[in-house]
Every structure is written in structure tokens, then in C-alpha cells.
Amino acid sequence: MASRTPAIPLSETYRGITTEVARVPLQMPARVPWLIALILSLALLALFLASVTWLFARGVGIWGLNIPVNWAFAIHLYVWWLGLGHAGTLISAMLLLMGQDWRNSLNRFAEAMTVCAVICAGMEPILHLGRPWFLYWMFPYPATMGVWPQFRSPLEWDIWAVLTYLTVSVLFWYIGLVPDLATVRDRAKKRGWQVFFGIFALGWRGSARHWAVWNKTYRTIAAIAVPLVVSVHSEVSLLFASGQVPGWHSTIFPPYFVLGAAFSGFAMVAMIAIVMRHTFQLGHIVTERHLDVLAKVTLAMGLMTAYGYVFEVFDGYYSGELREIATLHDRFFGAYAWAYWGAVLCNFVPLQGLWVARIRRSPVLLFLISTSVVVGMWLERYMILVTSLYKDFLPSSFGYYHASFWDWSTYIGMLGLFMTPFLLFVRFLPSISIFEDKEVLEREKEAAAHG
């Protein structure tokens, strides 16, 4: 690694890094753009709350759902959000274990993004319920009814998966944050900030003992988090694969979903990285090299996802199952072909630009490509869900799905639910790992010194 262009320029100093990152919460540069963003996302959040109120008042009928398509936005967004989240964990955990230094400038906000995304994801299935107030029936508690949850149901699996994933990513994120909270605590001048960061830093002193135990724990959790990510999205895919519905009933779903998730996730990380880099002038810490590597990973994930697409088609024909093939054709030419081709287009066509180094290192282009990927994956999840359900077995029960106003308002509002906490995080917490970057700088200096 070190032989290549350094992730952090050698000209940087520890203090430099500290001040550069810590000033964001402490002095807050770019107040205005941040405020505008916050107001926007609060507006969205209000829309979300309005939609949910109406939803609970009237029932899920306000959405465009019907029989046969009785799952749509809520479920496909659940998959989408969770997918976005996965990149965060992968970046921090997997790359940490692989000793990829470049991750250290990205992992913190990537994880934060994960947490926000998982919150949204977890929200969706609850809104989706016909009687959300009985959600607690899904948990095994000693009820006066004497009835228990049904552990063979993929939905039961999901609720545990999401719960675990949320807890683990929050903890992982917080553990990594503690040393930096200490740093900010020590930089803080105002009493209020001191107490705020002081409490959350838990009195971290940077003692060698702390570091030793912390290191073990952090890496252990990382090692656990990687299989977790894989398992979580595999389970999500089983929610479909367990049904007999043509277009769902396939063994490639788990890997297919996990890859797609990572794909969209890395794109999302790239987008956020670029925005933050720009608004808070973090150019020295989130360098072009970071963008370059991110782009490469996204490209790789994209290609694997593309393989999934190809294999799905092959699988359909190879099965020789009349209905599988019919569904396949329907995806190509049917009423929802726009979703399929839209997904293919957005996911894979602009992606090819990333073969070129210049595009990889150009923030604007990378941002655009990433956006198209995120949109593409959105379309893919929609396609997988709706095109399979609306024509399943008996032609008599075929029926179309059209998203209603409330479908959209709930979704768009939820973007507010995603952005608001993230903006607050950016505002009040060190959104880039200070100590880990110092570590990198140290190592780079070492390397430079010893030839």
C-alpha cells in the first residue's frame, strides 16, 4: 500500500488532521449549505410523518397495493435501504481486516450512513403491516394467548436480522468513535461541548491499555460484522426465494442480492464522500486516491452484479420451467419492461466509464455515475418484486400495480428520515476518523523514513 501514492499527503501533521476534522463539529464551516440541507430534510421528514399518520389512520389501502401485487414499495425499499447500508459495514469491517489504509478516511461516515439506512430499512416492514400495532407478536414473549411466533417464516428471520444488524452497526460505529470523541472533547472550548463530548467519550485517555483492548475488540467485531452483512441480505433474498412465485424461486438470490447491495452501497458512499469533501473542503483527507479506489470497488461489484443478471437469464431458460421463462420474457417485453431495462441501463452502462482513470478521479463524473447506480438498483428491486407478483400462476388473477400518491410520499418523506440524522451526525460528531488517519500518517512517515 504505502508504496503507492499515500492516502494522506506526507505534508499533513497530526495537529493538521485534528483541527481539520474537529473544526467541523466545533466551528462548523459551511453553515449555510448545511442549514439549507437540514431544512430540506426536515421538510421531507414532515412529509413522512404526515404520510404515516394517514397510513395508520386509514390502512395500507392508501397505497396502490392489490391482490396479486400485495407487496410493493414498502418491501422493495426495505431491500434497497438495507442494500445501501451494507457498504458502510463492508468498508469499515472488511477493509479493516484487509489492512486497507485508504478506508480510514471513509469508514466513519460510511458507518453513519449505514446506521441511518438501516433505520429506514427497519421502518419499512413495520409500515407495511396491516395491523402494525401488533408488531410485538413477532417476538417470543410469554403471552396470555399462549401463542408464539412462527420461526419457519422468512419474515420472522428478517426481523431478527434487521434487529441484529442495527445493533451491531451502531455499536461498531460508536466503538470506533470513542477515541475521536476524546480528541474533540480535549479541543472543545465551550463548557457545553466539553460536557457533551466528555460524556460520550466515556473518559477515554488513549492509554496503551485502552488501545490494546480496544484494538482486539474492534477487530473482533469487524470479523463478526462481515459474515453478518452477508447473512442479512441473504435472508432478505430468502423472503422472496422461499415463495414459489416464478422469478423469485431461485437459488442464486442470496449472492445476487448481497452483491447488488454492496454495489449500490459503495456507490452511495462515493456520493456522500464527494459531497462532504466538497462542502467541508476535506480534500487533503478524502483524496483523489480515495475516490479512485472507491470507483474501482464499485466497478468490481457492478460487474459481479451484472453476472447475476446474466445468470438469472440463463437460469430461467436452463430450468425449462414454462412459467419461469414466461416471467423472464415478461421482464424483457412486458408491462414493466421499463423497470428491467431501466435497471440494466442505469446500473451497467454509465458504470463502464469507471474503466478510465480520469473519470474515476473526477468527483463530478463519479458522483453522476454513482447516482445512476443507486437509481438503477432501486429499479432492480422494484422490478424483481412487481414483475414476479403481478403475473404468477393463474391468468385469472393477473393484475397490475400502480404506485399511488401515498406510496411516493412515504418513500420521498423517508429520504428525510435518512438525511436528518446523517446531517446531525456530520454537524456534531467527527465525521472522519481522526486517530486512524493519524495512524496512517504515522505508518506512511515510517515508510518514507526507512526508504
Binding site: 399462549g146 472533547r185 480535549d186 466539553q194 466528555g198
Partner: protein
């Protein structure tokens, strides 16, 4: 660098942390207990009735058979609520102008039903049938308690699903000979278990699997 927190800060922090934890646990326990409380199960409450009817008086003192008033208990899902004229069969001779009975006489005169408040009640989605339970040797007392000792009628047992399940999973201990079903004073013989087993066979009581199948009570 000055200290941010005083020496006592840590004690406070721990106190708060433990407090929060205990509070959470306590909350769960309270909810757990409340769901099983008499209040929640509407047990042992005597709603205000148009007439302060005493089962104790009619059953124990007068020795009237349950079926005299609840005449359809053996033939129908409902035990049957006595029509006004059933009251009047006796009260046209006894207590003919007792104040408490005014509503009854009025009801008969105006041909308006007396609106009693239901005491033993299961939700609409539960389909309980009296006839089959009587036929299989389940006594009134099993669900209604010692109604023969109630000056004012109240719900004796918590009609929770668990309450029904307990019996449906293992009916034997609750069985008694059919002719003893209305007998509140019945004492089980020493070999109750043996009796239970015998009655299970005699009355062709179904297997727990069938008795606890959801469709037995919910439709």
C-alpha cells in the same frame, strides 16, 4: 487542562445507567403483571344491573336448577338468558310489588326487554359453545366459579386464551360425570385421575391436537 467532570460524576453516571436498565426491566414486568391482572381480565367486578339479581339466593337458598332460567344450555351454543316471563312465573306470585323488581314488571308490561350487563363474555372472534361442554362433563363451576355463592354475579375466572388452552390441552382433571355438571358441591373421588381417564374414554374426548387446533374456537 482543567477537569471537566467532578469526582462524583462517575457515580452519577453509573447510577443513571443502572436506573435506566432497572426501569426498562420494571416496565416489562409491570406490563406482564397488568396483562394478567383482575382489572385487565375484568374479573371479580359486579357491573350495575337493572335488578340486583342474586344467584346465591336463587340457587343456594331456593335451589332452582340452572337450566330453569338458562334453559338452552344443553341444546345451544348460548346458555340462554331468561326471558322476562320466566322471572314472572314465580314473581307473579312472590314479591309481587317489591321495589327492586319494578323493572321486571315494567318490562313485561311495556314488552320491553330488560337490558342486563353481560358478565361472562368472550370476544366476538371466539366461538364458545355451552352444549358441547355440558355434554362432555365440564361443570358450570369450571368457568363460572362458585356462582352459587355470588350475591351479585361477577366473572370468576380470567377468560384469557391460556385459560381455555389449559383445559383443552389436558381435559381429564376437569371432567366429571354428566349428572354432576350442575352440582356445585360435587367433590372429586379420591382417584380423580382414574375417573378423569375413564371419562375421557367414555365421553370420547378428542385429542389435545384436535382440541387446541385454532379452528376449534376461531372461525
Amino acid at each position: 487542562m482543567p477537569q471537566i467532570f467532578s469526582r462524583t460524576a462517575d457515580s452519577w453516571l453509573r447510577a443513571v445507567a443502572w436506573g435506566a436498565l432497572l426501569f426498562a426491566i420494571g416496565l416489562f414486568l409491570v406490563a406482564f403483571a397488568f396483562a394478567r391482572s383482575q382489572y385487565w381480565d375484568v374479573v371479580a367486578r359486579t357491573p350495575l344491573q337493572p335488578v340486583p339479581f342474586s344467584h346465591k339466593h336463587h340457587v343456594t337458598d331456593d335451589g332452582i336448577d340452572c337450566r330453569y332460567c338458562h334453559s338452552t344450555v344443553e341444546t345451544s351454543a348460548n346458555a340462554g338468558f331468561p326471558a322476562t316471563h320466566v322471572c314472572m312465573t314465580c314473581h307473579s306470585q312472590l314479591w309481587t310489588n317489591a321495589e327492586v323488581l319494578a323493572p321486571v314488571r315494567q318490562s313485561l308490561a311495556e314488552n320491553r326487554p330488560i337490558l342486563w350487563r353481560r358478565v361472562a363474555r368472550v370476544p366476538d372472534y371466539v366461538y364458545f359453545r355451552h352444549d358441547i361442554h355440558i355434554a362432555k362433563g365440564i361443570a358450570c363451576v369450571e368457568c363460572h366459579g362458585r356462582i352459587d355463592r355470588m350475591p351479585l354475579t361477577y366473572r370468576a375466572k380470567a377468560f384469557e386464551m391460556k385459560f381455555c388452552l389449559d383445559c383443552h390441552r389436558d381435559p381429564a382433571p376437569h371432567l366429571r360425570p354428566r349428572d354432576q355438571v350442575y352440582n356445585f358441591e360435587w367433590k372429586p373421588p379420591p382417584d380423580h385421575a382414574a375417573l378423569g381417564r375413564r371419562l375421557m374414554a367414555d365421553y370420547h374426548i378428542k385429542s389435545p391436537a384436535e382440541l387446541t387446533s385454532c379452528g376449534t374456537c376461531h372461525r
